[in-house]
Amino acid sequence: MTNNISSKTITALDDQEALLQRAADEREAIFNRYSLGLDPKNVVDPWENPTFELYHITDKYGFMHDSRLPDTRDSQELQRTKIELERDKKWMKMLANWNPNNEKVRRRVFKGIPDRMRWPAWKKLLNVDELIVANRDKYASMLALARKYSTEVRQIDSDVNRQFRDNVAYRQRYSVKQCSLFNVLNAYSIYNPELGYCQGMACLAGVLLLFMQEEEAFWALNQLIIDRKYAMHGLFIEGFPKLTRFLEHHDRIMSKMMRKLHQHFMKHNVDAILYSIKWFFVIFVERIPYSLALRVWDIYLLEGDRVVTAMAVTILYLHKHELLRLNDMDSIIEYLQVKLHKNFGYNDDYVIEALERMMKKLKDLKLDVAPPAKANEFPVRPLGQFIEADIEKKIGRRRSEYTDNEKQVITDVILRSEQNAVEVQSTMSYETSECATGDAYSMKTYRSITSLATSPAVSSYSLYSNGFVVTTNNKLYNNDIDNNTTSAYNNGHNNHGNNYNSYSHNYRHSNSYSYSHTMLPLQNHTDAEVDYGHVDDLPPEFNENDANVDDDELSVQNTRL
């Protein structure tokens, strides 16, 4: 990006000096503010500091709520506290003789790590103490370098200023936790320069810091990003290759396990990328209630990214009937982005049980693991070796062109939604019952899908004008570096038939995944009602119908095949 510097005039170079100086001054000024922290000398614009409103009620995680939490929680809370006290003891013992492969650990993690034990337990799961010992002084030196060279200060500063301000730990500008968050992110951007900083990382580090100290959170974050189990590096780097890969896998699962819902979404142009970015990037934080997100984090830390895949499907599965009733894109997206965060409608234990069953089911179907990553999802250079950023980056100048990587993403993203549309179209033409009625609604849908699927000249218009080439889709799984994984993907995208057959076989002869009445005891309804005030998304016919619906879907597909 600096290679055309020769064409610049002297004044441009002078400008460049000035711009560099300006960036350095800005970095210095911002760092100084965080160093001062809560020192009264640190003058804070009043608007940067929301006033503490004491009538707010703070929950046990430090999040503030507009009104009093319902009194009914108190008795339940008491009960839970009792149970947690018992669990604390067991966990202390278990942590003292830690063995993550122990079945007991697994079972207890699924039950939920007690709040007080999350600090030591997460550290164990993420290997934090060992990393700190093995990398003595590394964090401090990265932080010192960041102070001099970080190019992400401005973005990090503006994100720290907006992260979890409804939590007591982060509420006050330049509070201890805000400063830690700022430091961790800046230091990390130096430690892993290929990643730098991406919006979303503040949320991850923000959660970790609620349970850990600064240096611990740094290494925990690094584990999430680098360890192959989580490998979030590929999610956050330019082009988001892992996001694309996981979205494709998500679509694949949807089209096999929840055909009806999948088609419903496609009908309303609800592409997974529109509702699931936060699911993948920040592991469901702010998309489901915080207490439930922590439970999912517990399991994620134990089992890795297959948990995210399974949880995504679990959410849709549990809310399938509600979602099928919503007949436009905005209510579907609103439901998934806002409503489920406020009120998930099921209690946490129930959801986690469903998640566990879903993980098992996906495993049976060989859908639990997404296709293997390509090399571009991992850092190339060793971590922790300082590399000075190029001038453009230092100045903070924006690129005006898309990089090849980015062009690829755009192509992939658009291709994926078109593939989905094609798939839905081909299925719909067999769903005679739906199309033959000829009501305006389904006809229109049909037409629109046709317009997308069959007129690339129209739908790819913008792509061509930018020099992107939309290629055919069989490349999708062919370039994997990791060919030793024998998964259903080795034959590329086209073995639908085979996969499908084994799927339907499994489905019909396995009971492991039926939500029978016994798994949704009446008591759960009541619990949920006490918990959340009202539950409007547990249709009475939830269980029996469910199997039927999917059976229908299967037979539709059988006709097709």
């Binding site: 608007w47 929301p50 973005q155 503006s158 200023n161 907006r162 992260q163 301000r165 409804d166 991406c198 919006q199 979303g200 956050f236 330019e238 082009g239 988001f240 009908k267 309303h268 142009n269 592409d271 990328i273 529109l274 970015i277 936060k278 990037f281 920040v282 702010e286 007949n327 436009d328 894109m329 905005d330 997206i333 609103e334 982005q337 903070g396 924006r398 690129r399 005006s400 898309y402 980015e406 993403v409 755009i410 993203v413 658009i414 549309a421 305006a440 609604y441 229109k444 849908t445 037409r447 629109s448 899908i449 317009s451 997308l452 129209v458 739908s459 218009y461 913008s462 004008s465 930018n466």
Partner: protein, 221 residues
């Protein structure tokens, strides 16, 4: 501006009610995307427009967020489907996904930040090149409540907007200044002639919008 029009404001529910053959209201639905540098106030503008609120600690946007709001203009009910995108450069590659098929865009900059104004210009260029040819673009100079420490002059931005055929207003998500107005101005500029669709059923609308059919691409009766 917009004296004859009434914002649906917080009472969007009532203005959006479906006439059952008795009223002559037209219903239109438009896809609108917000673009601009991080932290210029895109999410805040949307929050102000949709919920009438301002949060100092508005969370930063990851990927994009989706909201809707309805406005009334004379006898027409206009529903905006709003895509609020993330401003960090890294998310830039997802933007086409959101502006594809959009009938309107608000490109936002922060009047105390020159870089964000440059960035806004780049967005405008990209939209002119890549988005639907008849997209309505508005430029919003946000944080107008901080005009005592402004860096981008009103006249400079206004002239740029005129040269490029953009609507232009300085806004403040904090005070609410010009927020409804900019959406209203867009709504007025969008074609609201009768189209082929009826009932405002959303299915397929977006996809059809990709067609370069100027007459029928965005309205429903």
């Amino acid at each position: 501006m917009a004296t004859t029009a009434r914002s649906g404001g917080n009472a969007s529910g009532s203005s959006a009610q479906r006439p059952n053959g008795t009223q002559q209201n037209k219903n239109c639905q438009f896809k609108l995307v917000l673009l601009g540098e991080s932290a210029v106030g895109k999410s805040s503008l949307v929050l102000r427009f949709v919920k009438g609120q301002f949060h100092e600690y508005q969370e930063s946007t990851i990927g994009a967020a989706f909201l809707t709001q309805t406005l009334c203009i004379e006898d027409t009910v206009v529903k905006f489907e709003i895509w609020d995108t993330a401003g960090q450069e890294r998310y830039h590659s997802l933007a086409p996904m959101y502006y594809r098929g959009a009938q309107a865009a608000i490109v936002v900059y922060d009047i105390q930040n020159q870089d964000s104004f440059q960035r806004a210009k780049t967005w405008v260029k990209e939209l002119h090149k890549q988005a639907s040819p008849n997209i309505v673009i508005a430029l919003a100079g946000n944080k107008a409540d901080l005009s005592n420490i402004r860096v981008v002059e009103y006249e400079e931005a206004k002239q740029y907007a005129e040269e490029n055929g953009l609507l232009f207003m300085e806004t403040s998500a904090k005070t609410g200044m010009n927020v409804n107005d900019i959406f209203l101005a867009i709504a007025k500029k969008l074609p609201k002639n009768d189209g082929a669709n009826n009932q405002g059923a959303p299915a397929g609308r977006r996809l059809n919008d990709n067609e370069n059919n100027r007459q029928t691409n965005n309205c429903c009766k």
